[in-house]
């Protein structure tokens, strides 16, 4: 499925890109405008994405077997990691870096198979360590949250 979904998504993206590129001022060959180069790229993108989609639907994709081979547990671990990454991005402005980092490391480790105690301890140490390194030593203004 993945082998067909990816080119389809890219084809759709190329189409949208072309539509937006055509709305930019094109100019002329002697005075190319802001849309000149994007239109060329968009046409190229649509052509190659069409060809890739056609080839994905015609051939038996090599990657298909790999994606299908993932058992339920492995797929769950990947999905949990991605969800945790997205949750971190959403939560960071609201709860601040230390809390988001602690929750992120603990949850991901737990789902990857670590014991609760190991997960929590690693979470505390890594959140504190990375905060100390980036916020204190390197002066990165990491959000601290409401506390």
């Amino acid at each position: 499925m993945l082998a067909r979904a990816v080119p389809l998504v890219l084809l759709a993206a190329a189409g949208v890109y072309l539509a937006f590129a055509l709305r930019l001022p094109f100019g002329a060959a002697a005075r190319p405008g802001a849309g000149f180069y994007p239109v060329i790229i968009a046409v190229f993108a649509v052509i190659v994405a069409l060809a890739a989609t056609a080839s994905a639907f015609r051939d038996v994709p090599r990657g298909e077997a790999d994606a299908a081979e993932l058992d339920g547990a492995a797929r769950r671990r990947v999905v949990i990691s991605v969800v945790a990454l997205a949750a971190f991005c959403l939560a960071l402005p609201w709860v601040g870096y230390p809390a988001a980092a602690l929750a992120f490391v603990t949850v991901v480790l737990r789902y990857l198979g670590a014991r609760w105690t190991t997960a929590l301890l690693t979470g505390v140490l890594s959140a504190a360590g990375s905060y100390g390194l980036f916020a204190v030593l390197l002066d990165v203004p990491l959000p601290r949250g409401p506390w």
């Binding site: 060959a29 005075r31 802001a34 994007p38 190659v48 990947v78 480790l109 990375s130 990165v140 990491l142």
Partner: protein, 497 residues
């Protein structure tokens, strides 16, 4: 400044305590990420990029490049001892390297690979000194049409060489070029594809994209495994010495590998990986016993290990003399220089000699440090592999998140990281190389600018643009490399039919 004066001046810069320290940290981190499967040199360079913002540009370049070539040393240890390549440039090494370990010659394989890497690294630095200053002299005469031809030719060649299907490579190129147009147009200041977002007006940052497709994607692959432990063969210090016969058999492969590697590095593409395959094939071809390759032949370790280090040096030439990165790793180095307000190119060598020569001299020092680090301490580094993979994977994810945010304190960069992480994971599952996208993202804006400038100059004549001697030569070479092999196959197929 001639090469020798330049080098002497470079040593006076590279031997400053802060630069020595940066070089040491770079090669140390490089060795560690090289040993660890999962996180490669590109991901590690992207991770550490924000920490270099406060440094002098030469110091930043010295540290980041140290990671790049350091990883080539570290990667071989994992290939030889565990039969798992630490990074892509060491895949070939495991064919004969692990067989040598099975025969009890792991120590010899490690020593030959470290010495081979050292020799190639040193040969490569001499190559940079001579080639980069020569190319920079030539490149001063380049105008927008030539730069346009180089970027276009580079992208075309890269698509050919990145391995896998050329169609997939073209899709990646198109995506990278399109991403490069997001943000403010550099000529008319018009906002393009920003959908009203102020943050997108700055364009899509390269580093979160790289961290996503090389860091997060790799970790997601590791996450599939859950908890896994690695069995490691141990090596004792006295077993490290190769026999006289092994030295004799390694000498020529190292010499050939160094040259092949450096030359491959000059060409766009995943030079470090490609050079190892070329070197291995070459060694097999010149060998009197090619059938024994794959059973623990030291030539199969010596050649490719020298080649991947030579290639990392060669890849610096187009970056330093033309300001054009042809690989994701050199794209990060370019990014680091640009952050410091430096534009690598033909003028950098004369205008900022301390950066160029300091960097070149630091590569000599770095290679020496790596030889010392890797021979007696190889067992210490390999114990890094005993670190539980799931803890390591989670910590790398956290570092990617905080690293991406700290680039410009932007939440958008975090989302770019996550989206490209998932996309990179999907590409890995489909066995599609993301490098053409990354390089196209870097070269795209350069290509657009030079194309528009060139069209202004030639009053819109595409013929004038491509017919200048140099740009025509470059484009013809790229077209030959791109369409030559399929045409030859087609003609041969017709003849056979």
């Amino acid at each position: 400044m001639g090469p020798l004066d330049g080098l002497a001046y470079g040593f006076s810069i590279a031997l400053l305590p802060s630069n020595l320290f940066a070089c040491f940290i770079g090669v140390l981190v490089g060795t560690i990420v090289g040993v660890l499967p999962g996180i490669g040199p590109v991901g590690a360079m992207a991770l550490l990029l924000p920490s270099t913002f406060a440094m002098h540009p030469a110091t930043a370049l010295i540290m980041l490049a140290g990671i790049y070539y350091g990883a080539m040393y570290g990667g071989s240890a994992t290939s030889i001892l565990v039969n798992v390549p630490g990074e892509a440039g060491s895949v070939v090494t495991l064919l004969d390297g692990y067989q040598m370990t099975k025969k009890g010659r792991a120590g010899a394989a490690l020593t030959v690979s470290a010495v081979g890497s050292f020799v190639a690294g040193t040969v490569g630095v001499v190559g940079i000194m001579l080639a980069a200053s020569w190319l920079a002299d030539v490149a001063i005469q380049f105008g927008p049409p030539e730069y346009f031809a180089i970027t276009l030719g580079g992208i075309l060649l890269l698509s050919r060489l990145s391995g896998g299907s050329i169609l997939n490579a073209f899709v990646m190129v198109a995506l990278g070029l399109a991403l490069g147009t997001v943000g403010m147009d550099s000529i008319s200041a018009l906002r393009r594809f920003t959908f009203g977002s102020v943050q997108l007006a700055q364009g899509i940052e390269l580093v979160p994209v790289i961290m996503g497709v090389y860091g997060v994607a790799e970790v997601l692959l590791l996450a599939e495994e859950g908890i896994a432990r690695t069995q490691i063969a141990s090596v004792k210090l006295r077993e490290l010495l190769p026999t006289r016969e092994e030295w004799r058999r390694s000498a020529m492969p190292i010499a050939r590998g160094s040259v092949v590697g450096f030359l491959t590095g000059l060409v766009p593409g995943p030079a470090a990986v490609l050079s190892t395959f070329i070197s291995y094939t070459l060694e097999k071809r010149v060998s009197k016993t090619p059938e024994k390759f794959g059973t623990g032949m030291i030539e199969g370790v010596a050649g490719p290990e020298a080649a991947n280090n030579g290639a990392t040096a060669g890849a610096m030439v187009p970056l330093l003399s033309l300001g054009i990165p042809f690989s994701p790793a050199t794209a990060i180095l370019l990014g680091a220089l640009v952050v410091h307000g430096l534009q690598p190119g033909p003028l950098m060598i004369s205008q900022r000699p301390e950066v160029f020569w300091g960097f070149v001299a630091s590569m000599y020092i770095g290679n020496l440090m790596l030889l010392i680090l890797n021979l007696p301490l190889v067992s210490v580094f390999v114990t890094v592999l005993r670190l539980p993979q799931h803890i390591l994977a989670t910590l790398v994810l956290l570092l990617c998140l905080v690293g991406a945010y700290s680039l410009s304190n932007s939440f958008l960069d975090l989302w770019v990281l996550v989206i490209f992480g998932v996309f990179g994971y999907a590409l890995r599952k489909l066995r599609v190389d993301p490098s053409p996208m990354v390089v196209a993202l870097v070269l795209g804006p350069m290509m657009e600018k030079t194309l528009r400038q060139a069209l202004f100059l030639t009053r819109g004549s595409v013929l004038d643009l491509v017919a200048r001697p140099l740009s025509a030569t470059i484009l013809i070479l790229a077209a030959a490399a791109l369409f030559g092999p399929p045409l030859v196959r087609l003609v041969r197929g017709r003849r056979l039919a």
